[in-house]
Amino acid sequence: MSTTRREFIKTVGAAIATSQIPAEPVAANTPEAAALATTSPAAAPQLGGKRKVIYDQDTFGPFGTDILGTLMMLQADNLDLLGITLVTGDDWLKQEMAYTLRLLEMMGRTEIPVYAGAEFPMLNTKEEWQLRQQLYGGHRLDPWMGAFNRANGGLNEIKPLPPPYDRLANLKPQQEHAARFIIKAVRDNPGQVTIYAGGPLTNVALAMALAPDIVPLVHEVVIMGTGFHVFTNAFNIFFDPESARKVLRAAWPKFSIVTVDIAEEIHEGDEISPGRRMIEEIAAGAQSPISDLFRIHAVEPLRNNPSMQFFRMADEMMAAQVIDPTVFTKSEQMYVDICTTPGPRYGDSMFWPKNWQDVPDAGKSVSAADRRVFVDPRQFYLGPPPSAGLANVLQEIDHDRFKKLFVELMTRPIRKA
């Protein structure tokens, strides 16, 4: 028996129903603390066994970086996936939910709870975005607007799912809002939870605003977005710059960024060995439904259109940072901040080295190594703004090891619940 679109919309919307956030734990019995409910001290980080992960995503189906990131996380056996939280970004929340639930059914992983999150960014709107593009001109290499794409439907429109999804899932989302789930999961597992945030950072910003006490309790946050070389204006950030700024400025114990620059180094259509593409290897070697997804949405389209462009492996790299961070061979602590002035630079990212005082002064020549990372390091002389956050910016990746990890995860037997 299949789910109708109307029934599906009902169940997704029901997830927005309210539920209480558990009480903030009360601190030591000082008179001040007794007077109020106050923040508890951070528990010591403790990592035992599998890494606990909250997977926050703007799942754009049927295929692509969001789906492949999801498949990697489902296939990895060193992760404990506490839940999937969705946020409007690449697509509208309800359509993303349709793909996510059905993918979990097809993968036999219906035990993973899925939570609906923010349906809109904090302030950005489709109409204002289009006006900004007209007013200031487009200046991005890939003018992707996700849910705000001109041709995209409304937030309540569920388009049918193509093969191999074929129908809407019988699986239902949870009744709790994504932000509340994040708060609860982090408080229940202090120092242990990694938040993978593969879409706009709206859900994480909401969780932080409601419960600032979770920030020091998180083990690591991994995000995708920002850039300094390919372009500075990355979708996940400029879809909701205010949320990105809020999240980037918080004092997380560890905050890792996959920039568009490093993501651009590897594309889904790349070869793993001379003459052999990763997608071909996977379509041939994987089990269903992974093999079907790659065959229908990558190998066959490429056969019909040999000049087909494949996307950078952005979310796949985030998944790698969670599953096996050693594939990254270089990273640097940097200050990162986001422009939220609604002008031509709305959503732009800005970087400063942690040791910005040591960057050679204007009189010295700029080294090739500096140029590789920064357009012009001289812009950093005055340092970051006062509230900028420090992030672990991933800068180099072992291409062979990353590709092998990716293909191995895709072709190993489908992981059971």
């Binding site: 679109r5 109307r6 919309i9 009902k10 919307g13 029901a14 927005i16 129903a17 309210t18 209480q20 956030i21 558990p22 009480a23 903030e24 008179p31 001040e32 007794a34 007077a35 109020l36 409910a37 106050t38 923040t39 923010a118 349906e119 809109f120 904090m122 302030l123 709107t125 109409e127 204002e128 006006l131 439907g153 409304g154 309540n156 429109e157 569920i158 809002h177 932000a179 709206t202 910003a205 909401l206 605003a209 409601l210 419960a211 600032p212 205010e242 700024r245 809020k246 400025r249 422009c339 939220t340 002035t341 609604p342 002008g343 703004p385 006062p386 509230s387």
Partner: protein, 377 residues
């Protein structure tokens, strides 16, 4: 394709299970969201008015950082309820920080652009240079004397707002006497509450006296979300209106100190009468929050409102938090420019209160402050 009935099914589903409205004996259901500055301020006085009014069902008090940090404000609110014998009113601590604004940036904007960027007022509340830290809790002076025995509720203010509006569709008035941070969070988490909120009333911004005020420029992003959300009714008290009446006008304070009951008399003696006698040049503050409270208690004392559009500047510059107003009837006004004075694309619709019957306001205010302490629920 999604049909219109699909959409309807969706929106109907978003409304929670409709509970029977709690009988409130005709009282107005109110969520009171406030940056509750103690010991006595326009915030506290408005709280006293609402506690004293017998036609208000005060569902809960929410606090939000601005005039002070939320923890300190919560301490004042809890103890005030004890002093007033109204410990049944639940208190919810809300947002401790604005959505994006920070103290360092507020200070730098002030230096860089001057107080113009701060609504001509230069008042920064919890972001003032010498203000206490976010988690510091200063002792409460007389007549508060000590921290309250009663506790704040564990639920965040935004969750309380969502839960309460859903349980009382079309019945709850939201009083936002501080920045709209809690309201913005509630609307983001649960957009379905917007059409079922009876009214939002907010104080901030202006066209003449100043183009912004601390409730807006402390959290301009929250103000933008709050104004744009599309509430069925949004009533605004501007600084222009609030400036028409000041606390020390017409001998109100002396009358209250003389005739009010404890603790109201004590508060006004200590924090209005004594400072004024010590320094006759002291300029007492305008009465913005008292006007909001008056509007909730008896809207008929206001002479009218202008139907307008409003939007907020969130550029991180000298205009951060500035308000822009447009006449709602812009299409038919402006002579040759008719049709050109359009509001911004996403501007919110507000009813800007444009006048108050000063005599009736004074009478209402003095009556509420001097009547026997209302100890009933």
């Amino acid at each position: 394709m999604t049909t219109p009935s699909d959409m309807l099914a969706h929106s109907a589903m978003l409304s929670p299970v409709q509970q029977n409205p709690t009988p409130s004996g005709g009282k107005k259901k109110l969520i009171y969201d406030q940056d509750h500055r103690g010991p006595l301020s326009t915030d506290t006085v408005a709280t006293l008015m609402l506690l004293q009014a017998d036609n208000i069902d005060l569902l809960g008090i929410c606090t939000v950082s601005c005039d002070m940090w939320a923890k300190q404000e919560t301490a004042y609110a809890l103890r005030l309820l004890e002093l007033m014998g109204r410990t049944e009113v639940p208190v919810f601590m809300g947002a401790q920080e604005p959505l994006l604004n920070t103290k360092a940036e507020a200070q730098m904007r002030y230096q860089m652009f001057g107080s113009r960027s701060l609504g001509n007022e230069g008042y920064l509340g919890a972001f003032a240079k010498d203000a206490a830290g976010r988690d510091e809790l200063a002792p409460l002076p007389p007549p508060y004397n000590r921290f309250a025995q009663i506790k704040a509720q564990p639920e965040p203010a935004a969750d309380f707002i969502i839960r309460t509006i859903r349980a009382n569709p079309n019945q709850v008035t939201m009083y936002c006497g501080g920045p709209m941070t809690n309201l913005a969070l509630a609307a983001m988490l649960a957009p379905d509450i917007v059409p079922i909120t009876k009214e939002v009333i907010f104080m901030g911004g202006g066209l003449h006296h100043s183009t912004s005020s601390v409730n807006v420029y402390f959290d301009a992003e929250a103000a933008k979300i709050g104004f744009r959300a599309g509430w069925p009714k949004f009533t605004l008290v501007t600084t222009d209106l609030a400036e028409q009446v000041h606390m020390q006008d017409d001998g109100k304070v002396d009358a209250i100190v003389e005739r009010a009951h404890s603790p109201i008399a004590d508060l006004f003696r200590e924090y209005e009468q004594k400072p004024q006698r010590a320094n006759p040049q002291r300029r007492s503050f305008r009465m913005p929050d008292e006007m909001m409270a008056a509007h909730v208690i008896d809207p008929s004392i206001f002479t009218g409102y202008d139907d307008m559009f409003i939007d907020i500047v969130t550029h991180n510059d000298g205009h951060y938090g500035d308000t822009s107003f447009w006449d709602a009837d812009w299409k038919n006004k402006g002579g040759e420019l008719s049709g050109q004075n359009a509001p911004s694309l996403k501007a919110g619709r507000v009813q800007v209160l444009n006048g108050v019957d000063k005599k009736r306001f004074r009478e209402l205010f003095t009556d509420l402050m001097t009547r026997p302490i209302n100890r009933s629920k």
